[in-house]
Structure formats: C-alpha cells, structure tokens
Symmetry: C2
Subunit: 231 residues, 2 copies
DNA sequence: CGCTATGTTGATCCATATCAATAAGTGTGG
DNA sequence: CCACACTTATTGATATGGATCAACATAGCG
C-alpha cells in the first residue's frame, strides 16, 4: 500500500489514536482495490469479511425488501463503512455499491476485531465513531417521521448550502437517488423542486440557486437536533 | 443503593466486564430515584448530565419538531438509555418521559466518561451496546422506508408474537403510542387493525390473537434484516 | 359516578404513489 | 463524430394511502 494512503487512513479519527504497532498490524492485512462504477461491494445479509475504507469515489448504501429498494446513505472519502457489522460479526443490514470509480481499502474484519480486543484506544475511537453514526441515523429517523417530503427537501438543500458554503451549488447525487434517500419517488421530487420555487429555490439540471435564504429557512425550519450533522 | 440493584446493573452486558474498582467508582456517584408516570427525565437539546439505567417501569423516548411529536422507542428494564449522548457529551436528540411508575438509576455522565477513558473493557462493552443500538435504528429506518403502515403493523405483531412466544398476547403500549411509534395516526392504526382481520388477526381492546399465522406471515413477509431485533 | 383521555367510525381532504407519455441527457459502437 | 439505445428527468392524469376533522363510544381514574 502506498505511503500516502497509509497516512490518509492513519489520520482518520478512527485510527489516529491507536498504538503504532497495532496500526501496522492492521495495515499488513489490508489491501487497496480500485472498483469501476456500479460494482456491488457487499450485499445485505452477507457476513462482513472486511471493514471498508473509501479513499476516493463514492459508495451508495441501500436496502431492499419485497422488491422495493431505498438508498440509506452515501459514503464519501475518507471514511469507513459497515463498521458496526464488522465489529459485531453480524450480517450486513445494507448493501454497498460503488457509484463511480472508487478506490477502497479492505481490512479483514477478523484483524479489526483482534486489534479492537487488545487496543483500548482503538476501542474508544470506535465508540466515538459509532456514537456519531447512531446519532446520524436518529436524526434521519426524525427527519422522516416529523417532516413532509417538501420539508425534507427544503432542509436537505439548506444542509447542502451549509456544506458548500454558498447559495449556489450542484447536487452531489442523481435526483433519482436523492429522491430515494429522502424517501420519495423521482416524480414527487421533481414536483417538490417546483413546490420550493415560491420560497426562492431555482433549479437548472443539478445546479441549485437559493435566491431567498430567509424565505426558504422560514419554510424549512431547520433544527440542529435534526440537521446539524456531526453535532 | 441496595445490593440487589447493584447486581442488576453489574449483570448488564455494558457493565459486566469492567474492572471491579471502576464499577465501584461508578456506583459511588450513582443514585436511584423513583418517578411517577409522565415525568420528563430529559428534554431533547439538553446536555446529558446523567446516563440513565431503568430498573423498573418503562420510559418513552420521543422527539418533536415544529409542533409535531413522534415516539421513537420504549425503554424497558433492565437497560440503559441515551448512552451515545452521554459518551459524546452532545445534546440529547430525544426526550425521555416515564410511562408508568419507574425506578431509575442516574450515573453522572462525567463519571461514565472518566471510566470510559481508563477502562478498555468498559469501552469495548460500550462498542457492543452502541453497535446494537445503531443496527436497531437502521432496521427501523428500513421498516419505515420500505413498508406501508399496514405492513409495519403486521410485522410488529409478528415480532410481539415472537417475544411473547404465543399467538395470543397483549399490546405492551397504548395504541396511541403504538401508532406514533409505527409512524401513523391513531385513526389509521384503528383501521389498520381492521385491515389485518382478513389475514387472521383478532383484536379486542389491547388483546391480540393471531388465528392464522401463515396467512399473516405471507402478507407481512418478515425479514431478519429488519425484524430480528438483537441480530 | 362523572370527568377526561383514549379509541373507534365515518366523511372528506391532501400528500404521495402510480401509470403513462415525452423530453433530455449520456454512453456506446459503428 | 454521429446515431442509436438506454437511462434519467419531467409533466400530466389518476389512484390510493394516510391525515384530518368530527362525532361518538369506551375505559380508566379521582
């Protein structure tokens, strides 16, 4: 594995505090792989052979039931995914698929569990990571249960505005997937964008311009306990 | 604190592996309190002063936004709640309220974090607990996004059947709260119960009888990756 | 025993899904 | 580089799941 990747991983909060020898042990068993778009990395129900770390590209986490499918999250560099399943040695609850060409590190789950058992600092870092994941999912549940689809879209756009730091930005995923992520159909998303026009949202393709932030915020009523990710 | 409570807590997976002296340290700062029904134990947004352990009774975890409210989970003995917020020292994402007369242990969050920092076994136990919580919420999200309310109710009844080990059981919560938990209105729940009659579900008050398990299961299509809690 | 909260039922309304048709991209191979 | 195929996005018409409103019934509880 190239030195630069090693450093990227080492700098992740999850790995930055652990003993050097334990980190080395993990890296010895790790390997990096490049995947083309639309490759299945994991299927829900499978046992987690590897903890995944995404170095570049993006990965969709999604779930299916009874012929229906929904997008649960998008993973972007540099971060890990399916940590809970790896640690618990329990079946994946979500499938993972590359959205674009992606470079991914695979750490054998058994190695991760071995180091977890002997390195208290690693265990503590995992706690922090899982607590954040847990809180993110809770926020997502609140978003789903307490808001209409129009409100979810409005707040999503405000979050994207904050991430980009600008009132103009491009959507980071296909509208089709955004709809699924927000829990609606593509048709409904299309109409929802139209429905936000009166509140100062302009849409051209995947380019968004917020022309009246106050108006949009007044409608969306963003709330840190739902919308501030990593808080 | 009475010896019997001490043992109940010590036997929780979260506390069973930690060093005796650290457990004692936690217990020294702990105190037990009895609450009547409908008492607010925590309000979302508050900073987590205590990790709560429920010894008897039951507690509702719920969230609000913009005048709407939804029940997120029910906590029953013996287990802890709002662990993620306590460890992260981040604001509560859910409010907590006793549903009935409840006996609850309060552990100062600072003590918990102190022991967490020095006891690797405790840290590992927290990982296991959080990983389970995380997976539960993910399952809940899948339930919400992939199923209609009728399907959610059908699968809920099958889960209750498994917990009780019998085709006849009583609902463990008010229908009003069950509706909120399942993401529907009380009126809709009432009609959903009616809608399950053709599949062999009999309802009298809060007593449920499943008269045709196969038929109900054929409609509900339960799935371990959504419905098997603690798996 | 009444008071109050919960549960049911009916009528209606609204949000969202579905179905269908078209348009607009996007990628591929000739 | 273009033509074709295929996927995605949009728009309209319609259906339906679920919410809301209102009336009434029921059950705990003081």
């Amino acid at each position: 594995m190239p030195e630069s990747h090693r450093d990227d991983i080492r700098n992740l909060a999850l790995f930055s505090d652990m003993a050097e020898e334990n980190f080395e042990a993990l890296m010895r068993g790790a390997y990096v792989q490049n995947f083309p778009p639309r490759v299945d990395l994991a299927v829900e129900g499978d046992t987690p052979d590897f903890l995944h770390i995404i170095l570049s590209g993006s990965v969709d986490l999604f779930s299916s039931w009874n012929g229906r499918e929904t997008s649960m999250a998008t993973v972007r560099p540099v971060s890990t995914f399916i940590l809970a399943a790896s640690i618990n040695d329990a079946p994946y609850l979500m499938s993972a698929r590359t959205l674009e060409k992606s470079r991914i590190v695979l750490l054998p789950s058994q190695d991760v569990r071995d180091v977890f058992m002997k390195d208290g600092d690693f265990a503590r870092a995992i706690v922090t990571e899982l607590a954040q994941c847990y809180r993110s999912v809770i926020k997502n549940t609140k978003d789903l249960k307490l808001r209409t689809s129009l409100e979810r879209l409005a707040n999503y756009l405000l979050r994207q505005k904050n991430r980009s730091g600008s009132l103009e930005f491009d959507l980071v995923m296909e509208k089709r997937r955004l709809a699924s992520f927000l829990g609606m159909t593509p048709e409904n998303l299309s109409r929802a964008f139209k429905g936000l026009e009166p509140y100062g949202v302009k849409v051209q393709g995947n380019h968004i311009v917020i022309t009246d932030l106050d108006d949009l915020a007044r409608f969306a009523r963003p709330n840190p306990l739902i919308d501030d990710h990593h808080a």
